[in-house]
């Protein structure tokens, strides 16, 4: 009979060692993983990263898009963009449009999600109605909202006229034009934020709400201290995706204002890419704006991740 000299309450030395890493993947596992990853990786390289690198390369050229020849000009396009008179306006338009779109879409989406998370009659139909604009093409929405905002025949003009308020000319005042395209985009995009928030609300821990109710916590405090913290990962996810989508809005602006009035009234950076590449035929310069935009978006995304890390 052997007696252990170790106290059963003391762990053995072996137990103190960290768990061993798995040694290696088998050849079969590696082959399987490669087979699963490779098709997507190839598509990503061909259709995303190759054009990206090509775009960066083109940004160093003076290239008329109708011409088969391009001339290397180094940083000439970058110098021109930073020195251009219109750059300040375009960057400001981009920042205002994006910030208001992100905040507006998310705030409205959350409010609607909170409302339609309640047991209300016909909420299924209303949920569908709220989400529907998201799947409609931006160009179609742009055409429809031209009639909403038309200063002579539009719905807004009609409604304001009934209460004796003059309608601003949404198409000829830069501030109002930017307001118009931003509101139109929020209307289209709110369904996306709504659906994501609704899913998150339905997956939250109900017992926390019940505990708050038992404690007699008011609805506002419950929302701020109990509900909202649970939605933080969703809010972060939305802030990234809505921001990226907002940065790329083109169709609504093209249909409603063509980047005007006064030339750059609603021109954002992505619209400038189109304008320079196709209207002014300066594909190299357009590629430069796209590259700058890419760097900005990448930095913002990484900052968002960093902030989220710290919060966690």
């Amino acid at each position: 009979m052997s007696i252990s000299t170790r106290s059963p309450s003391v762990p053995a030395d072996d137990d103190l060692e960290p768990p061993k890493r798995r040694q290696a993947y088998s050849a079969r596992e590696v082959a399987l993983a490669s087979a699963l990853i490779l098709p997507n990786l190839v598509l990503l390289i061909v259709f995303t990263y190759r054009p990206l690198l090509d775009n960066i390369r083109l940004s160093f050229f003076d290239w008329n898009i109708s011409s088969p020849r391009a001339t290397f000009i180094g940083l000439g396009n970058y110098v021109e963009w930073f020195a251009a008179r219109s750059t300040g306006t375009i960057v400001l338009n981009t920042v205002v449009f994006t910030a208001v779109s992100v905040i507006g879409s998310m705030a409205l989406g959350l409010a609607l999600a909170m409302l339609l998370d309640q047991k209300l009659v016909g909420r299924g139909a209303v949920r569908s109605m709220v989400f529907a604009p998201y799947v409609i093409s931006g160009a179609a929405i742009g055409v429809a909202f031209q009639f909403v905002f038309d200063p002579t025949f539009g719905l807004v003009q009609d409604l304001l006229g009934r209460v004796g308020v003059d309608t601003p000319n949404f198409y000829q005042r830069p501030g109002w034009a930017l307001f118009m395209v931003t509101v139109t985009y929020i209307w289209k995009n709110v369904g996306y934020a709504f659906v994501i928030y609704l899913a998150a609300l339905q997956g939250r821990r109900a017992e926390l709400d019940e505990a708050a109710e038992i404690d007699g916590t008011g609805p506002v405090r419950t929302f701020l201290r109990v509900t909202l913290p649970q939605l933080r990962p969703t809010t972060f996810f939305l802030s990234v995706t809505v921001l990226l989508n907002s940065f790329q809005v083109f169709d609504i602006i093209n249909v409603m204002t063509k980047g005007g009035p006064l030339g750059t009234g609603t021109t954002t950076m992505v619209y400038q890419v189109y304008q320079e590449t196709f209207v002014n035929a300066r594909a190299g310069y357009g590629a430069t704006v796209a590259t700058i935009m890419f760097i900005v978006v990448l930095i913002i995304t990484l900052l968002q991740v960093r902030i989220q890390d710290r919060q966690d």
Binding site: F237, V240, L262, F278, A290, F294, T301, Q308
Partner: protein
């Protein structure tokens, strides 16, 4: 390696950022040429169907297909407007399948020709038996660069002044006779406004809708120009005077610069309208009250020609080019130009169209359509290079005109900036290629 939600989001965000740019740059392509591209035997005609002409285009194409079954034509939507069609063609130039015939607008054909994207047609005309002299000279010569022609006239227009008969009569004016000069327009304006409840006399499309084209005639009547040859002339005192006149008329409420001028006029929101001849058929159907078309005010020339021609890509095979030119010749022959112009309001592009008995009868019955044809001979001239030959020129000038009209900015300052920008582009992008 474990994949946490955070790291997933990090990578998803970064990838999405990259994809965002990838999507933008996808249009950029590599700039390769596609010389001698063969087709499948079908002539592919990219059109934006100017003035809602899809049905009449298809009707003419059906006739071609019946007569030429071995080289049928396929009508392909090239976009909603001239700009979209040009974008699509540019995308095809970077490596896609080239069409055989494209609609090239007054502001696009030159850039295509200058950069070798479209073919010179003179030799093809000879091979195809096309008689260029049968085209209206001024319209044909609009497409000349370095002694060669790069397009054939198709949906050609000029601007007209549309006058509301009832309002003009109420103001004691004859609607059959528009103002002879812009100064006379200003003199008439108070009585016309009074006759129409104070509403603006004249609606003009804004800078996003070709104000730069409509203003061109006005600037000429003041002795100014957008440019002379390859020198921008926005800062010429006469050009500035024209700009100040326009600004003043807008301030006084005589002219309304509108995002939808046609609708404003059609619904009685203005007593007159500056618009293309291409809007004639549509307006005839939609206007609330009868109207008459008139020349733009002089002194002559007071109106610019415009619209679009048909070009052939340089990168397709010689056989395709030849068939394309034969089709264009058919599409714009005397009978078809009559059919097309009667359906749209554009001007006939063949000289003998006006002498055709059916056309004569049509013009007698539709005097509004006659105005454009008469004005072409009496009151027009080709456009200034700063608008049509400088890429993005129209949009650039339109934005500047918006600034002085809608924005009320100082004309001299805005035109000075426009002068600098335009001349810089001419010197950088055009002159070197012309000298080569």
């Amino acid at each position: 390696m474990s994949l946490s939600r955070r790291s997933f989001l990090t990578w998803a965000g970064a990838t999405a950022s990259v994809a965002a740019l990838g999507g933008l740059s996808a249009c950029a392509g590599t700039g390769g040429s596609a010389a001698g591209q063969e087709g499948d035997g079908t002539i592919k005609f990219w059109s934006n169907h100017p003035a809602k002409s899809k049905d009449v285009e298809q009707k003419i194409i059906d006739a071609w297909n019946a007569a030429n079954p071995k080289t049928p034509v396929q009508l392909i939507d090239g976009g909603a407007n001239y700009e979209e069609l040009a974008q699509k063609f540019n995308a095809a130039l970077t490596g896609g399948q080239l069409p055989d015939v494209i609609v090239a607008s007054d502001v696009n054909w030159f850039n295509f020709a200058l950069n070798g994207a479209t073919a010179p047609l003179d030799d093809l005309w000879t091979k195809a038996g096309v008689k260029p002299d049968t085209y209206v000279d001024t319209l044909r010569e609009d497409y000349k660069l370095n002694g060669k022609h790069f397009a054939m006239p198709y949906a050609r227009s000029t601007n007209l002044m549309y006058l509301d008969n009832a309002i003009f009569e109420k103001a004691g004016l004859d609607p059959k006779v528009g103002p002879a000069t812009w100064q006379q327009f200003a003199e008439w304006a108070p009585s016309i406004r009074k006759a129409n409840g104070g509403k603006p006399v004249l609606a003009i499309p804004d800078g996003s809708n070709y104000l730069d084209w409509y203003f061109q005639g006005m600037i000429w009547t003041f002795g100014g120009h957008y440019s002379r040859d390859w020198t921008a002339t926005f800062t010429d005192p006469k050009s500035i005077e024209a700009g100040k006149f326009l600004q003043d008329q807008v301030k006084q409420g005589n002219i309304a610069v509108s995002n939808d001028a046609v609708n404003q006029f059609a619904t009685g929101g203005a007593s007159a309208l500056l618009e293309s001849t291409g809007s004639l058929t549509g307006l005839t159907a939609s206007a609330k009250t009868p109207f008459t078309t008139a020349y733009l005010p002089g002194p002559k020339p007071g109106a610019a020609t415009g619209g679009a021609g048909l070009s052939v890509p340089a990168g397709i095979s010689e056989d395709r080019k030849l068939n394309a030119v034969k089709f264009i010749d058919f599409l714009t022959n005397t009978q078809n130009t009559i059919t097309f112009t009667q359906a749209t309001g554009y001007m006939p592009v063949r000289k003998d169209a006006e002498a055709d008995p059916a056309e004569k009868m049509y013009l007698e019955q539709h005097p509004n359509a006659t105005t454009a044809i008469r004005q072409l001979n009496e009151n027009t001239q080709p456009q200034d290079a700063a608008r049509v030959f400088v890429q993005g020129g129209g949009k650039r000038i339109g934005a500047a005109l918006d600034r002085i009209t809608i924005g009320g900015e100082d004309v001299a300052t805005v035109f000075a900036q426009l002068q600098d920008e335009t001349q810089k582009i001419i010197d950088r992008d055009i002159k070197p290629k012309l000298s080569n």
